[in-house]
Symmetry: C2
């Protein structure tokens, strides 16, 4: 072939061609070497006919489930069945009987509306969460197969995806981290595109842990992260943010399939989305491959994956051109097939068109048999890894213990002794600086904490740190003085909104956040200096609301002043003035509403006695929601 | 030069060179033609020395103001002063004495923290909002020169920018549209990058209005939109979303300067941001130009702008490589100069380094004199345009009236007659479909309404339409069932959160939204069908909360059932049941809390009498905040 090039063009023109060719050859040889060395090499055993049948089975499981539910998105699973088959049947390492095996390859369907693709694959691969009856109860109340993938409903689903709402953090997304390991960086903001963003977090975690714990003689952290995303994901800014970072970090084990079907929910992508996605990803530092025939080109897809694996210093985007709703004679390649059922007549026509004579939900025996090996293969993968980690534990007991604590998320006993404490004599400081003191202290005792810092903000695991609290930003002006944020976060279920007032409360807020990893915590921290107040404590913050000072007796103060964060100081000062006038005044720090709600009635009554209605709340923000605490009676 | 190319390389290699050269020559000739035709041609009168002095004056006005405030971001204005000078002194058409002149060129500083650059330019150009005393009160309470640009504080600032908070819509951003014209599409979500996103909205508005109202003999809509953005803007996904659309729409009169200074708030961009921005913008369909010497290369900047204007079918990104904090001997090219004052000693050293012997805030007479022409020139621009529009009005009275109503934002009398109304006999329908009926009706009477639709959502002017309200989404699963959104929006100041229950209420919500264009409205609409309820009305929605049915007398019902949106139907049905049992029950629709708050005490008492504490709220969402309406007493 080299000769052909030589004879066809003159040498000066051919130099770029030669370079390209050499690069391709190099990549190919690398991928072959890799394939020989790797267990995830594509098996040659599956006859083409079985692959075709398996792909058809995936398509029809999706079609049948959506038809039965009379609701769903058939276009995606019909178009992406070939990619899905190759990933789950030929490429990925996983153990269907233990979806939480640590060193599994991860797969995330960023375009979550097409979840029947994933359910069909999990079903064929032998995951217990998706039996035939689960496919038959697709999109039904309480089923394991909801309309968009939920990792807390369906073991085998890594990440909840397909969120359409303008939301920041809701209860559902708390669970994103639960089935994964320890503290990691996630980018879990609402819309389509959040799947690929989570994928960047997963791949970063792998790279980070591999760099920290792998040894020349033992690669105990060694897995790939795969993703399928669509045009809807590409349109969302969050995916560009995350993919820019993935390129920057050179996440070589991240392989994303971009389903290039030219159809969005509103019609042809020509109407709103005509950018050159390939070129954009090259600009972001990705390796980009184009599979032109995603409907039938199994070998093209396989070669692309091998090439992607051979490029170890860049994430790879494999653009796969497919036909949405492939196989449907009258609806394929149209936005009508995106989110509408085919209907009995068109399902029949599709069965005929693709030569699928079977009853709904039927998987032919040879396809079943072909997929059945994944149960034993998966068990073998895990057993092999367990042996490896046992050996690692022998050789490197300290690192092994650390890694285990990260994987299980268990905190070392006595970790909380690292929390810094303060007295009223300690110097005034910004709570965002006091936050830094906590994080520095954790570095020694909590190896799983991984900090990320973008322009301005920092984010730790599921702890959201807000560093520009309220009006204290002062000279930066009103754009930096939000007044609704505290209430907005308090309105979200399953989130702890913490607003510490000083050093002890900042440490208390971190203690709460670290110990509450099944729900996110939001810490609102000041940029301005705040004094260390008498009466504040780590233990107090854990109760949400608590008394920091009181000169009344018998739980009957004349008034209760309730402050949070930077305004607790004002409450304390106001109380001093009132007490000089002979009043019995209680000052309550209300650092976290949600935790106070969870205390016993007795405790609540001891802090906010029902008989005392003279209550004042002091907080630099909207009063929206405060009626619950201070009462709604204006008289 | 062509000959040189020929002799140096052989012909087969030179073909791409030739093409490039021809393209450049073509662009150059186009830009020269354009320059001859256009009034915005760069004047040759300004001697190089004056330009240097003017650029220094801009730098030192920024340095001095920041030093006096002891707070601010000197790095940006010092680095971008040359771009700023050329834009405001040589390129842009504006009238400093009428910042709202319709056909002005727009300028938006997306990196809003560098606002002293813009204040210095507005000051030199003769805008009344920024006198010397305003520069001296930079970043002070109540000044016209806040720490980030605010278009409602400083006439001449087009868009509020530089928002760091995770926020969606706050009171401040309401005003974004006020100084612009009529209804337009804006992308006003919080973070850095929102400036460039607004720029896309402004440029789209220009292109849209030009297409609709310009005539072969009268180009009455004809202005450019300029922007300066930095790395912080580029990192934010919102800028990629907007710029992808700008490329798609081919907004040829959008010219953005990307300040490529290699420094972000945390240090060198190498640490977190290494993507190829030029290539990304090419992928987004932009024309990209690189000015390598942004510190001194005035002619390079001028040529780039001319080239950008010659490319009429694509927006242009001019990457300008600059030195942050240019001129400061010890702080330039470091992230220390991003957001910290230089300090007296370094200011002195910078004065010496740049040869600036003047007192703080002094503008040399020759610089003043040079800039003084903008007042008369600006008046002439506007007068010329006024003559043009007068002629247009004569020739095309209908179009002129329409355009005028868009520019002034005045609604045609009787427009509300177009609102559709319904009776209980009208068929049940989803409120998002009923919304469409309203918009179709408006098309005839409100020419200024410009609808945009991305994947899933639609946005109209400052009316935010949410089309997947609450749990009614059903089978799409919990990712599509937010419960905190209504409360989150209610917590934001100056926003109307509307949740209509049926056809009449949807029309009522649109009436409110269209008539309240100084604050945004959010409409939460259902996907599921809702019945047309007896008692609902357009007028009722305008009052926020109103009685839809009542069988009590003397304003003393036994109980008040309060519903919103899709749950108003449930409240009505529950009332029917209770009434069968002989109870006196009132049903209140609470479509908009904010509007109810604005009613008289008498009206409020007539709807929710204080004496009636048996109140039940029915809403598919968190109860957070409802204590205000139903009371906080749990007994």
């Amino acid at each position: 072939m080299l000769d052909q090039v030589h004879t066809r063009v003159n040498i000066s023109e051919s130099i770029p061609w030669l370079l390209l060719l050499l690069r391709r050859l190099l990549l190919l040889s690398l991928s072959l070497t890799q394939a020989i060395l790797s267990r995830s090499i594509i098996p040659v055993s599956a006859a083409a006919n079985t692959v075709d049948k398996s792909v058809s089975a995936i398509r029809f499981l999706a079609i049948d489930a959506i038809e039965k539910a009379n609701s769903g998105h058939p276009g995606l699973p019909m178009g992406r069945a070939p990619m899905g088959h190759i990933l789950y049947d030929e490429v990925m390492k996983y153990n269907p009987k233990n979806p939480y095996w640590f060193n599994r390859d991860r797969f995330v369907l960023s375009a979550g509306h097409g979840c029947m693709l994933q359910y069909a694959l999990l079903h064929l691969a032998g995951y217990d969460a998706v039996k035939e009856e689960d496919l038959k109860s697709f999109r039904q109340w309480g089923s394991k197969t909801p309309g968009h993938p939920e990792n807390f409903e369906t073991p085998g689903v890594e990440v909840t995806t397909g969120l359409n709402q303008i939301s920041l953090l809701t209860s559902h997304r708390v669970k994103i981290c639960e089935t994964n390991f320890g503290f990691h960086m996630y980018f879990c903001v609402g819309p389509l595109g959040q799947g690929i963003a989570n994928v960047v977090g997963l791949a970063l975690a792998e790279k980070h842990l591999a760099a920290r714990y792998n040894k020349p003689d033992s690669e105990i952290v060694d897995h790939y992260t795969y993703c399928i995303l669509g045009d809807g994901c590409q349109m969302e800014g969050i995916s560009n943010e995350a993919c820019s970072l993935a390129g920057h970090w050179g996440l070589g084990k991240l392989i994303a399939f971009y389903d290039d079907n030219h159809i969005s929910i509103d019609g042809d992508t020509e109407i709103a989305f005509t950018e050159n996605v390939d070129l954009r990803f090259e600009a972001l530092g990705w390796h980009v491959i184009w599979v032109k025939n995603g409907n039938h080109g199994y070998d093209e897809i396989r070669a692309a994956i091998n090439e992607a694996k051979a490029v170890t210093d860049k994430p790879t985007l494999i653009k796969v051109t497919t036909t949405i709703g492939f196989g449907s004679p009258n609806m394929a390649n149209s936005h009508n097939v995106h989110g509408s059922v085919l209907g009995a007549k068109e399902v029949e026509a599709t069965r005929k068109n693709l030569g699928w004579p079977y009853e709904p939900f039927h998987v032919p025996e040879d396809v079943k048999k072909h997929w059945s090996r994944h149960v034993s293969e998966g068990a073998a993968f895990e057993a092999e890894w367990n042996a490896k980690i046992a050996e690692y534990e022998n050789k490197y007991p300290e690192e092994a213990a650390e890694l285990k604590s990260i994987i299980t998320g268990q905190l070392p006993t006595g970790w909380e002794k690292a929390l810094p404490t303060y007295t009223p004599e300690s110097p005034a400081n910004a709570t965002r600086n006091l936050s830094q003191a906590n994080l520095n202290a954790f570095a020694k005792v909590l190896p799983g904490i991984l900090g990320g810092s973008a322009d301005v903000t920092s984010c730790f695991g599921v702890i959201y740190v807000m560093t520009h609290d309220s009006i204290g930003m002062g000279e930066d002006g009103p754009t930096h003085q939000p007044i609704e944020h505290l209430s907005s976060f308090r309105a979200m279920p399953n989130i702890l909104m913490l607003r510490p007032a000083d050093g002890n409360e900042t440490a208390g807020a971190y203690k709460v956040a670290v110990e509450n990893r099944k729900r996110p915590s939001v810490l609102a921290l000041s940029r301005q200096k705040l004094p260390q107040l008498p009466g504040t404590s780590i233990e107090g913050v854990a109760k949400g609301g608590y008394i920091i000072s009181d000169n009344s007796s018998g739980n009957k103060p004349d008034a209760i002043l309730i402050g949070t964060g930077s305004e607790l100081e004002i409450a304390a000062k106001a109380a001093d003035e009132l007490r000089k006038e002979g009043k019995a005044v209680r000052v309550v720090s209300f650092a976290c509403w949600e935790l106070f709600d969870e205390q016993s009635d007795e405790y609540k009554e001891s802090v906010l006695p029902g008989a005392v209605t003279a209550r004042v709340s002091i907080e630099a923000g909207t009063t929206f929601g405060w009626e619950k605490i201070v009462g709604s009676d204006k008289t």
